[in-house]
Amino acid sequence: MNKTSSSKGMSINARIDLLVSLLLIAAAIALPFMIDSRYVMGQIVLALFYATIASQWNLLFGFAGVFSLAQMAMFAFGGYATAMICFYFGWNVWAALLPGALSAVVFSLIVGLACLRLTGVYVALLTLAIAQTMYLLIVTDTECFTMVGSICRQFTGGAVGFARFGDLGTRALLKGQWLAGNYAIIATLFAVTMLVTYIIVKSPIGLAFRALKDNPGYAVARGVNRFQAQLLVFGISAFFTGLAGGFYAAHFQAIGPGILSMSQLMFIIAITVVGGVGTFWGPLVGTIVLVAADELMREAGEFRTLGLGLIIALSILLMPKGLVGRLGDLLSWLRHRNRAAASAITFQEKPATTGK
């Protein structure tokens, strides 16, 4: 890419991004007025959680190249921390959200200190092991910590988890319309997360993340500190993931070890892969496609997981850059074709556009 085409491309891309986000905001506002079904609304809220987590995994893996499989562990940590603060100290949920997210950051930094000296698959294996350990330790926790009535409660909630520790307050405020209220809150969370992610990706530090992913040797030679930069992106990603975890716990008024299961992590990975790893809108597109596919496969019942596995494998094979990547290829091909038609000298341009 030469300089003029990249700066011109940036402005076009930025305009597309702005247009897409305005359309999305309009759609998001219109949505609760168009849908009456509580079930559909509930699934949409759930999809927003998935999109938030996937966008943060995408920031970590797609933009910074850190192959972490502890994404759901960060989510669970934030959720558990929020739930436990409310449960043990009786705090309001809103007050516990920030401490919950911050504790996820602290956890992620500890994990990062242990893992990020490594690269590539070593990071993946170690983070997977840490997430599995967290799951095992919670599920096998049987020691009584406190007694609630005559029932023994474990410190981590054990296999049951926590419930009834408070909610977002929308039930008391909006009565029957509480779900729309929660939708508004979670949609705002998603929008803010996307906005911050956008700013990070476009900022100098975002460029450093991407440089480390694309060519670590060159990036380090140009003065980027790999360990610090990756630790930073690990922390940022954990903050929003943990915050989403807190909101998740508050929305469902419950949290259990089930969210740490392998299938949940796979769903997040599938979303990002299908949408497009390393593309800004990929996680959102992936969420829409996969949640819809998931709903359709609900008819097929037990074949759901099988189908999901095949979707992951096939989309990696057929479209390594995901749906958004394919769309981008199509757009640049069209643009290139138009330009080629306009100018007489065409034979030198071909490799430049296929490169990125």
Partner: protein, 295 residues
């Protein structure tokens, strides 16, 4: 005190042998092609269930079931290459590592789920197992454990011979050391990759039969050995076979000891802490060489 010690030793050596087998299958593939096979667990399970189908459902002799597990494992490995890996190898190295991992995760889930749908979730008994035990004074050695350790030792010897002495083994080692150089020397790298995946699938098949003979057949059977095999690979340095075997036995003994002293739930976390400590001390693993990469 003595019988506790022998019990820990027997448990540690048996699980160590199983982990070593799982680890070798993974490490072979990683070492030669830089591919982390996340579907390895499902291939283990597949091996266990094929032996069950052949022996219990079809009533064939045990040896046929054992051979069948090996063959089906090998076929699964071959299919994995033909359908997935071959197509992903066209991308460059960094993308390949991540893509192949995600793709095999998908295949693993699909395979595990297909097994669940075919056989149901209830645990089944592995027909290939030995009962009774060998009593020597105060020590009693179950035949099952002896069988596992012997099979694993025999298999290790075969793999070592295969890699060390045969033409195919030389080609695999050459590819592992330097793919481009091997290719320039006339090694058909793609067929080496195919052979490695078939070999690793066959090992996974045997490993699945062995693991399920210790416990029971269930669809998530392979996940626990695979997770531990990952850890052992990481400790030893990915791709280092003798190191992986040593790490498998060492960590399995440690796990058996911790499980006895502190309870079963602390076994895995302790392994993890050991691994993290090792990695902070030596980021390329205990026996791993620090690679110098040219840009």
């Amino acid at each position: 005190m003595f019988d506790i010690l022998t019990a820990i030793l027997i448990a540690g050596l048996t699980t160590g042998a199983l982990y070593a087998l799982a680890t070798v299958g993974l490490s072979l593939v990683w070492g030669s092609m830089g591919m982390l096979n996340m579907a390895h667990a499902a291939m283990l399970t597949l091996g266990g269930y094929s032996a069950f189908t052949l022996c219990t459902v079809l009533g064939l002799p045990v040896i046929v079931g054992f051979a069948g597990a090996i063959v089906i494992g090998a076929v699964a490995g071959g299919l994995l290459y033909v359908l997935i890996v071959r197509n992903l190898l066209k991308t460059d190295k960094a993308t390949f590592e991540a893509n192949v991992m995600i793709a095999t995760v998908g295949i693993g889930i699909a395979l595990e789920n297909a097994i669940l749908l075919t056989y149901g979730g209830q645990p089944l008994k592995q027909p290939i197992s030995a009962t009774g035990s060998f009593v020597l004074g105060p020590v009693s050695l179950p035949f099952q454990n002896m069988l596992i350790v012997l099979v694993v030792i025999a298999l290790m010897a075969v793999i070592a011979l295969l890699l060390g002495k045969t033409r195919m083994g030389r080609a695999i080692r050459a590819t592992a050391q330097n793919r481009e150089a091997a290719q320039l020397m006339g090694v058909a790298v793609n067929s080496v990759y195919f052979q490695v995946l078939v070999l690793s699938g066959a090992i996974a098949g045997i490993c699945g039969v062995m693991v399920s003979s210790m416990t029971q057949l269930s669809p998530p059977l392979g996940n626990d050995p695979m997770l531990k095999a990952f850890i052992m690979c990481v400790v030893a340095g990915l791709g280092n076979l003798p190191g992986a075997v040593a790490a498998a036995f060492g960590l399995a003994l440690l796990e058996a000891f911790v499980q006895y002293v502190a309870g079963a739930r602390w076994g895995f976390p302790t392994l993890l802490f050991v691994v993290i400590a090792v990695l902070i001390w030596r980021p390329a693993g205990l026996f791993g060489r620090v690679q110098i990469r040219r840009m």
